[in-house]
Structure formats: C-alpha cells, structure tokens
Symmetry: C2
Amino acid sequence: MLRITTYNWVPVFAQGYVRDLPLRWACEEMSLPYELRLITRQDKDSKEHRKLQPFGQVPVLEDGDVTIFESGAILLHLGEKSEILLPKEASKKARARTWVFAALNSIDPVVREFRAAADNADKQEWAKLRQPQALENMKNRLRELNQWLQGREFLEEQFSVGDMMMTIMLRNIEPEILAEFPEVAKLQATCEARPAFQKALAAQLKTFAEHSP
Amino acid sequence: MLRITTYNWVPVFAQGYVRDLPLRWACEEMSLPYELRLITRQDKDSKEHRKLQPFGQVPVLEDGDVTIFESGAILLHLGEKSEILLPKEASKKARARTWVFAALNSIDPVVREFRAAADNADKQEWAKLRQPQALENMKNRLRELNQWLQGREFLEEQFSVGDMMMTIMLRNIEPEILAEFPEVAKLQATCEARPAFQKALAAQLKTFAEHSP
C-alpha cells in the first residue's frame, strides 16, 4: 500500500498547509488507499528520516520499491497511475507537468518571499522594508496567471495535477489579495470545492487533532 | 526539429545563466539537433509570446505538437527521449525526477532569496539587513545536500536530469561559498566538465555574442 510520511502534529497556523495535502488529495481523487508513517518534528533530523528526505522535510512517499520526496515529484508519480489526474497523451501530459513546475518555480517563490516579509513585518525591519516590493512581485505573477485563465475553467482543458499543485500554492495567499485576481480566485475555489480535496483536508486536520500535545 | 525559444541577447552578467542552458545541455548529451527561435527582451511581453509562456519568460520548447515552458518540465520531456538522462525503470526514474524538483523547489528558493539580498545589499537597506540570515538559510540547505552526497559521485547512482538541474541552480552561488561544501562543489565541477555542458554553454554565449547591440 502507498505510505505517506508526514508529521503527527504541527502548530495550528500550519495545520491544513502541510505538504502531505496534495498527496492525500491525489489519493482521494483516484480512490487509492494510503497509510501514514507519522513522525514528530524532532524525528525530522534523525538519520533514519534524512535517508528518506535529505532536507529533513515532509512528505515522503513509499510505493513498493519507489521511495521519493518533493511533493511535485510525488504528484507526477501518483498521477501516472491513471488518466484521472494526468493524461497519457504526450502533449497533454507535458502541459499538465508544465503547470506543476510553474506552481512550484514561478508562483511559489514569489509567494514565499511575500510570506517571509509579510509575516515578519511587525518584528523585523528588513521585512517591513521589503514587504511592498514583495507584494508587488507576487501580484505581477498573479496578474499573468489571471490573464492565462481568461475563458478557461482549469489551467488546461481538463483538471490535472497542475491545477492541484497550483491550488496548494495559492492557499498561502490571503483571500483579500487573491480576490483582486478573479480568475485565479475562481480556480482555487473550484479546486478546493472538489470532494476529494475536502476529504484530504479533513484527513490532515484529523491526524493533527488526534496527536495534539 | 526541436525548437528552443530564448533571448537573442542579455546583459553580460546574465550571459551563461539564461535557462535555455539546461535544454541545450540535454540536447548535447543526447546528440539531438535543435533550432532557436530568438526573441528580444521587448518581445517577451508580446501577445504572441505570452501565448507560449504566460509569465513572459524563456525558455519555451516546441517539439512537434508539444509546446511547453518551465525548464524543469522541459528537462523531463527531453529526458524521456532516451535512457541517457532519465532511466526508464520506475523507481530510478522517480528518483531522478525527485532531484529535478529538489533543485527547483528546495535549493533554488534559498539561492534566489540570498541573491536578491546579496546583489542589492549596497543599494537597499532591507537587503543589507536580510543578507546574513539569507546566507545562513542557503548554507543550511547546502550542508544537507553535502551530507547526502557523501560517498556518491552523482545525486543517484547514475548521472541524470536531476544532476543537470542541480548544477544549473548551483551556478548562481559564489565559488567561495560553494567551496565550504566540498561534495556539492565536486558535483558541480564534475557536471560542468562534461563536454556536452561545455558545448551548450559555448552555444549560449555565441548566440549572445552574435546579437550584441
């Protein structure tokens, strides 16, 4: 059976945002059962875990003799199990994969930089000074994404791992900011409304509730 | 024939660092011919280019009916053309892909944040204040990567697209800093010494030399 390594508990602000979420979501979309290997945040620095994840992060996926980390790589691996999340036809598959990378390398970096500035602006001088430009950089990317989404329901013709990874990245942006980019906000709302997403989110929150210290 | 869209010219500091480099490199490793579609930096905002690349960046790859952007997605697409850069066996393929994502989403973000701070530290107050922590964050990741590389020549048993993307990311770090992480520095040196890398780098520099304004 598929085995997902993730934390047994994280502080409330991180609950619903741990990156096992896209993995659980993919499993729910394809009705694939999975089991959990839960670690504490202290375990992440153990030799055992570093063998599975050199950067001491979660998630890790074990699937028979395949052991991989990086949620993008895992999403491609899971996606290839059917045509539900990743078309088999070469050109469509390539497009869906492109959006997984775009989410992680064109959207995530500007979101991360904005979060680092915004979340520390009241405590650190650099963050207060940086926040306006970091916000502007993020908005520029969101504007471009919004333009692409004009007249489309999803990033490409059909829902795919690309939309999933994009949704996961967009969750880190305040709804008030996203609302300025209606097509982007709509994509996120459409994807988060999927029963499989809701099940995956509830499952992550349940794990943390069960292991609350 | 494969067609790579890139800039006809960029300022000297960016020459050798434009992300068509991993694509040219993959083509050289597999002895695949490619042609160029050169655009100016003004063209990147044209409607025509935005249809190919919603964020107005390069590179774009056209391969028959496949048109994709994001250098990571393109590297996977090219890698699948043979076993030279991406093993066909499921578990090895999954590992190689994991490292492409690790380069782009675990290494690149800390390098980018360091570069943004370091390159602006003499001009902007936020950058001067942020530089020490950004450097520390980057070094932490490099230390973890260095640990993984102990006793290995490449990130996995054989050279793959994962090593290629990692090399491309590491090129954005000063050699003096990389030298503190000898296994990482060795990986980069080994990969950059490959004839295919050298050919690809020379080809990128030649394009810019030919279009120097």
